[in-house]
């Protein structure tokens, strides 16, 4: 017996989507399962059985050498023995023969392969060699490969109904796509989602992602009419830059879809070798956090939060603002929800007079008709219905949260049904928190059946609403073009051409900064006290002396900095003293000279940094600078090159921005100038691959009318 029924095509779907290369992964007309065995409760058998019993609308062929049939379906020895065309292969053979199977798939003209088998990159060098051979075969024959080492692929589209996985059950149809690098997590998520009544459009475990990666999957799901939200569980970033670019295409513009992601296990590659501030601050998760934010990816910390936010977005309208009305039958949870809402950035608006009048008419005198509305513990469905309807009708309200605690007279199911009825006509999002477990269970079930997001805790509802606000803000915020800056590239090329690997001297670093238009102080490298005095006379007093030596990174530790030298005599004395003391403390250091430059007027110390991130490439950092930078870690990151809007957001994102804006009556700093410096630093690291890291620490942020100044800069270079 051969199971045959070709999937119907969706006449309304765009032909572009129908022709997408990954259609053969998600909507194959026929599937060969290669390496099936007749033993139930084994992966090879269960996958074939799942496809056969999930309602798959296409044709499925078991490839089982030596077997006449599997589950009463005629079996083939090789995929090449099948007379008809085959769209997809699901390979379940042991790792050592997957290569042969895949080769035959190529010869057969199969366009997609899901390699379930483990024993590749994840087991070490030998496995990596095996995996590379699979990649070569896919490239030769144009096969889109999911895996290896994965759970498989599920498509709940009723026109396809494919469960090419060894998950225990086919999930319900839904609007959420779930992509995961971890196969084991997938099975847990499927079980969790089933309990919560959450369905999926597509479910993909992509394992070692040797072929198809999350980037191609983003593109497919962006165009998938069945998908509204994309959820991602990611352990390893291989092409961070590509991921970000793909995410930006998905999360903005026409047909924008949110991406919510858990990113775990990011190793601080390279951070151990980095000795700059930027290096030590950038080596960990904050870069990923900031970069995801700038790509519109909502990064969450747990599976719970992932689905809390996804169901709100997927099944409720997008709110037009952050104003939340709360309706509760218990004061305490109402206050807790209010606190949580404010903490995550939602606002609790006052109701207008009309709403207040409606609430007064519908509720007892003891009720609180202000936000949060307390309908009082004995409230039944009628009171809840009137209150929720009134707040949803208020033009000052963008969304509502309904809180219920089960009291003896609370008609939980009726209240749930009432909310469901309101939801049918509401144009604003509604979320519920029926607090408890056993007593509220049937009410929660009614809500979930109507796709009304339910949260055990009102705080979770607020967090989900805040995530939806982030999605809204991301779509609305401007992203500019990368400008062609007026920079002196030739000077930088000239300096780098004569520089060795390692740290560049301060005088040359300052020259590079100047060439890229950053405000650098006048400076001169002097080898005699007379030269230093002449420079100071020219620049004007007071001046600073700083030792320059390729062997000295931390100048203060060897008394290599002298500040506030107000006269020629002071300069002369300091020059001789510094040269002598540094020579004594570090006799092995070769002193190139002492740098003379004017004292920079006081201002806030900020840090501008740049670093080549192993995942994301050139990145820019901004934050509170000076000696406390690593203590407070008040920094943020962006991808280089930066546009001016992104640079402005970076400055806004750090707490120190409040200081720069003139907190407590202080003069406002030159914030626009700082943004310009960030754009220029981003351009610099993007233009020159040899620059591994740079720190401008501090940049002295002066008052708006006086501008900023680079006080210190360090640049670390790669070898030629």
């Amino acid at each position: 017996m051969t199971m045959t029924a070709a999937p119907s095509t969706d006449a309304t779907a765009s032909s572009d989507f129908e022709n997408h290369p990954l259609q053969s992964v998600f909507a194959p007309k026929s599937v060969a399962v290669i390496g099936v065995t007749p033993t139930p409760d084994t992966v090879p058998y269960d996958i074939f059985h799942n496809i056969l019993t999930s309602g798959y609308r296409g044709t499925v062929y078991p490839i089982a050498p030596g077997k006449r049939n599997i589950c009463a379906v005629k079996a083939y020895r090789y995929v090449l023995d099948i007379e008809d065309d085959v769209d997809q292969a699901v390979i379940v053979f042991p790792a050592n023969v997957v290569e042969r199977a895949l080769e035959q798939c190529g010869q057969k003209g199969i366009k997609s392969a899901i390699v379930i088998s483990a024993g590749f990159r994840e087991v070490g060098a030998k496995g990596l060699v095996r995996e590379k051979r699979l990649v070569d075969i896919c490239r030769e024959y144009g096969i889109s490969m999911i895996g290896p080492n994965c759970l498989g692929v599920i498509n709940t589209d009723p026109k396809v109904q494919l469960n090419a996985s060894f998950a225990r059950k086919m999930p319900d149809e839904g609007r959420i796509a779930f992509l995961s690098q971890s196969g084991a997590l997938c099975t847990a998520v499927l079980d969790y989602a089933r309990e919560k009544g959450i369905g999926f459009s597509k479910f993909v475990s992509f394992g070692n992602k040797a072929g198809v990666t999350e980037i191609e999957l983003f593109d497919y799901l962006h165009n998938d009419p069945q998908t509204d939200v994309i959820l991602l569980y990611l352990e390893e970033l291989r092409d961070g830059r590509g991921l970000i670019e793909a995410a930006r295409r998905v999360t903005r513009g026409d047909n924008a879809k949110p991406i919510l992601a858990i990113k775990s296990g990011r190793t601080p590659q390279g951070a151990d070798a980095a000795s700059s501030h930027t290096g030590s601050l950038a080596g960990e998760d904050p870069v990923c956090d900031a970069v995801f934010r700038e790509a519109g990816i909502i990064r969450v910390a747990s599976i719970e939060q992932l689905f809390n936010s996804a169901i709100l977005y997927a099944y409720q309208p997008m709110p037009s603002g952050d104003r939340l009305a709360i309706v509760t039958n218990a004061g305490g949870p109402g206050v807790m929800a209010t606190d949580a809402a404010v903490r995550v950035g939602l606002s609790i608006p006052r109701f207008n007079e009309d709403t207040t009048a409606k609430l007064k008419a519908a509720l007892p005198a003891t009720a609180n008709v202000k936000n949060p509305v307390d309908v009082i513990g004995d409230a039944r469905a009628d009171r809840y219905g009137a209150a929720v309807q009134a707040v949803l009708d208020d033009p000052n309200v963008d969304q509502a949260l309904v809180i219920l605690t089960p009291q003896s007279m609370t008609d939980i199911d009726s209240i749930a049904k009432g909310v469901c009825q309101l939801h049918e006509t509401a144009s604003k999002p509604i979320a519920c928190s029926f607090m408890g477990a056993a007593d509220v269970g049937s009410g929660i079930h009614l809500l979930q059946k109507s796709h009304i997001p339910h949260y055990i805790l009102p705080e979770w509802a607020c967090e989900a609403m805040a995530d939806v606000q982030r999605i809204r803000h991301w779509r609305e915020q401007p992203i500019g073009d990368i400008e062609a800056l007026d920079v002196d590239r030739a000077t930088v090329e000239s300096i780098l051409s004569s520089a060795d690997e390692g740290y560049l001297s301060e005088d040359r670093s300052l020259s590079i900064m100047g060439a890229y238009g950053l405000p650098v102080p006048a400076h001169r490298l002097c080898t005699t006290a007379d030269q230093a005095v002449a420079a100071a006379d020219q620049f004007g007093y007071p001046v600073v002396l700083r030792v320059i030596s390729p062997q000295i990174v931390h100048k203060s530790e060897v008394h290599g900095v002298a500040l506030d030298l107000a006269s020629a005599d002071a300069v002369r004395a300091a020059f001789d003293e510094m040269w002598r003391r540094v020579s004594e403390l570090m006799p092995e250091a070769e002193i190139t000279g002492l740098l003379v430059r004017p004292m920079i007027p006081d201002g806030y110390e900020v840090i501008l940094g740049a670093k080549r991130d192993p995942s994301f490439g050139p990145t820019v950092m901004f934050g509170l600078g000076g000696i406390y930078v690593e203590l407070f870690k008040d920094v943020t990151f962006g991808l280089a090159p930066l546009d001016r809007h992104t640079a402005a957001r970076m400055v806004q994102q750090v707490k120190a921005c409040r200081l720069l804006e003139g907190a407590r009556g202080r003069v406002c700093s030159d914030i626009e100038g700082i943004q310009d410096c960030l754009v220029r630093v981003g351009q610099l690291i993007n233009d020159f691959d040899r620059i591994l890291e740079l720190d401008v620490n501090p940049l002295i942020a002066g008052p708006m009318n006086k501008g900023n100044m680079v006080a210190d800069v360090r640049i670390r270079l790669a070898g030629v």
Partner: protein, 80 residues
């Protein structure tokens, strides 16, 4: 015992353990890819060869043998 006899008896064991017909088997036949051996059957094959030839093989090395021809050579090394 000459190699031809070893080959004939190896084929007989393979047919019995994997439940495949004699005409499916060539020296190049891969136990898994061509003959559909499941992981537990690999262990059964080793045990059956030891019984057939009254030998005791190194388990790890025996399980690494993946084709019929290689099995013949491997067992021939024990029975010569």
């Amino acid at each position: 015992m000459d190699k031809a006899e070893v080959e004939q008896r190896v084929k007989k064991v393979v047919c019995q353990v994997l439940n495949v017909s004699d005409d499916m088997i060539t020296p190049e036949s891969h136990f898994v890819f061509d003959l559909g051996a499941e992981s537990t059957q690999s262990v059964e094959l080793v045990a059956a060869f030891e019984g057939e030839f009254k030998i005791e093989m190194d388990d790890e090395a025996a399980l690494a043998v993946d084709t019929v021809g290689a099995a013949v050579d491997f067992i021939a090394g024990y029975v010569k």
